[in-house]
């Protein structure tokens, strides 16, 4: 697994992809938080809400771009055959790629700690618990998007198809369930249940700074399911 992980990381930072992902992420969020209208400085509260409400959308675009090639390219060039005939299980290959992408997402997030530092210097009474909870939520959220992206990449030999499919699925699981539960045709409990399937409810819940075990379990299960889907998709050649 480690060999695959290392190869993927080298591929990210050996090409422009890794740096570009970081640059796009930081520039977009930097503009939203500090420069554009209604930015964090104009608001009178010492918080990083703008960062944490916008980062999921940036991830929604960026993560499918990071993961789209992970299996699609291996399928297209035939190198998947090289990998799966080695003494490696499919899961080891999947996890290697998964953790490499998670690492890249975390590296994208790290410089934003500087924003946190800035805010603490500018104001006081910042809710640190909420900030750290939100960071944890973002890591979970990006990992969930990555699991989706890796899955869609394993479905096709065309990276663009994988990208579009991942973008669509990320959108649905992040906002779709929320939207459906808000439409009003579902009664209270059912609406909550539907919203609970989506990522946003759990992301918001963690962001409050109270890490509920149920939310953690939700994310881990979500990721596990998509990684298992990926395994099934890779094994479909055997049917």
């Amino acid at each position: 697994m480690y060999s695959i992980y290392k190869k993927e990381i080298t591929a990210f930072f050996g090409s422009l992809l890794g740096y570009m992902a970081m640059a796009v992420f930081l520039v977009l969020l930097g503009l939203l938080v500090w420069v554009f209208k209604d930015n964090q400085l104009e608001g009178q509260y010492a918080s990083l809400d703008i960062l944490f409400t916008n980062a999921p959308f940036v991830f929604m675009l960026l993560i499918p771009a990071i993961t789209m090639r992970s299996f699609a390219d291996e399928i297209r060039s035939g190198t998947l055959e090289l990998l799966v005939t080695r003494p490696l299980t499919e899961m080891q290959i999947i996890l290697g790629k998964f953790f490499a992408s998670v690492t890249l997402a975390v590296i994208c997030l790290l410089p934003t700690l500087l924003y946190y530092y800035t805010i603490t210097k500018l104001g006081h009474d910042i809710d640190s618990g909420a900030i750290w909870g939100s960071y944890l939520g973002l890591v979970f959220l990006s990992a969930a998007f990555i699991a989706i992206g890796i899955f869609t990449s394993s479905l096709t030999s065309n990276a663009i198809v994988a990208f579009i499919l991942a973008l669509f699925l990320c959108f649905i699981v992040y906002l779709g369930f929320d939207a459906v539960s808000d439409m009003g045709f579902l009664s209270g409990r059912l609406a909550n249940l539907v919203a609970g399937i989506g990522i946003n409810a759990h992301y918001r819940s963690i962001s409050r700074g109270v890490v509920d075990l149920r939310d953690a379990i939700y994310f881990l299960t979500f990721i596990g399911i998509f990684l298992l889907f990926t395994k099934t998709s890779l094994e479909s050649r055997k049917w």
Partner: protein, 299 residues
């Protein structure tokens, strides 16, 4: 036994890609796996390497069942898939390092250097794989297949698309490897089989049609000798009729004679020439090639 394949069958939907194929390969053998395109060569190889499972039958490598003891079997296999897939944006050394890492090879650097030496990649070792010529890519493919020193090498069409020089070099390399390892290589070039293999398995439409040493195969198909002879004197084909074992004789445009007959033809012709005091200027023997055997067996 290095490789044992027993009644292997693979069915894709309605179509039988491989049907009840059985063969064994002993350590140190170079087995030529022959068959027309679509005969089931690659399918059989993919089953042995564990890429796809068989529908029925068994395959084992070094005593390990490819399904039940898949990991052990894979550790003993070096595989060069068809079309030699490689990561084109990786560097040669980086790629070999990656493969060595998967196999947990100790002394990684030394082993990579050794493989680069064996496959003759010294000049190209700092390049990106995508920048290499086809022949050198093929060497990288062989290097990745051998880096963990497997007992069995499975090479799917290792010489397609190479120029004549590269062809000779790669064949030489495989022949050298074949001395220590068990090799299965698929091809549809007959000279290749005659040049490097000490056994041949021919399959056609998914079925095994021959399993023998190349020489026996030629004999079995009723093959014989073909001679191109030139006499100093003018000799008509009719005059050679008394030669024992001669089946056919024809005059070529350049005045030489093309003779076909059994294995003793050459001797008999020589004796005849001496008895008749004819002078042989030139005699060229051409054993009936595997190519014809292949054609008769697979069509």
């Amino acid at each position: 036994m290095s490789i044992e394949v027993n009644k292997l069958t693979k069915v894709y939907g309605e179509q039988k890609a491989v049907e009840e194929i059985s063969f064994r390969v002993r350590p140190g053998e170079v087995l030529g796996f022959l068959g027309p395109n679509g005969a089931g060569k690659s399918t059989t190889m993919k089953i042995i390497t564990g890429y796809i499972p068989q529908t029925s039958g068994k395959a084992s490598v070094c005593g390990f069942d490819v399904n039940k003891q898949s990991m052990e079997a894979r550790r003993n296999i070096g595989y060069l898939p068809e079309n030699n897939p490689l990561y084109h944006d990786m560097y040669v050394k980086e790629f070999l390092g990656f493969v060595a890492g998967i196999h947990h090879i100790p002394n990684r650097k030394a082993r990579i250097g050794e493989m680069i030496g064996i496959t003759g990649l010294e000049m190209e070792q700092h390049k990106k794989i995508g920048a290499l010529s086809k022949g050198y890519k093929q060497r990288v493919g062989l290097a990745q297949a051998m880096i963990h020193d497997p007992k069995v090498l499975i090479l799917d069409e290792p010489t397609t698309g190479l120029d004549p020089n590269q062809l000779t070099e790669i064949r030489e390399l495989i022949r050298r490897l074949g001395k220590e390892k068990t090799v299965i290589l698929s091809t549809h070039i007959m000279q290749e089989v005659q040049a490097i293999c000490n056994r041949v398995v021919i399959i056609s439409k998914g079925k095994l049609v021959a399993d023998d040493v190349p020489e026996h195969l030629v004999l079995r198909s009723g093959g014989g000798t073909q001679l191109l002879v030139r006499f100093k004197e003018k000799v008509s084909p009719e005059r050679l009729r008394p030669v024992k074992g001669l089946k056919n004789a024809s005059l070529q445009p350049d005045g030489s004679l093309l003779l076909t007959g059994d294995d003793k033809l050459q001797e008999e012709l020589f004796r005849f020439a001496v008895a008749q005091s004819l002078t042989i200027l030139h005699m060229n023997e051409d054993k009936q090639s595997l190519e014809e055997v292949f054609r008769t067996l697979t069509s």
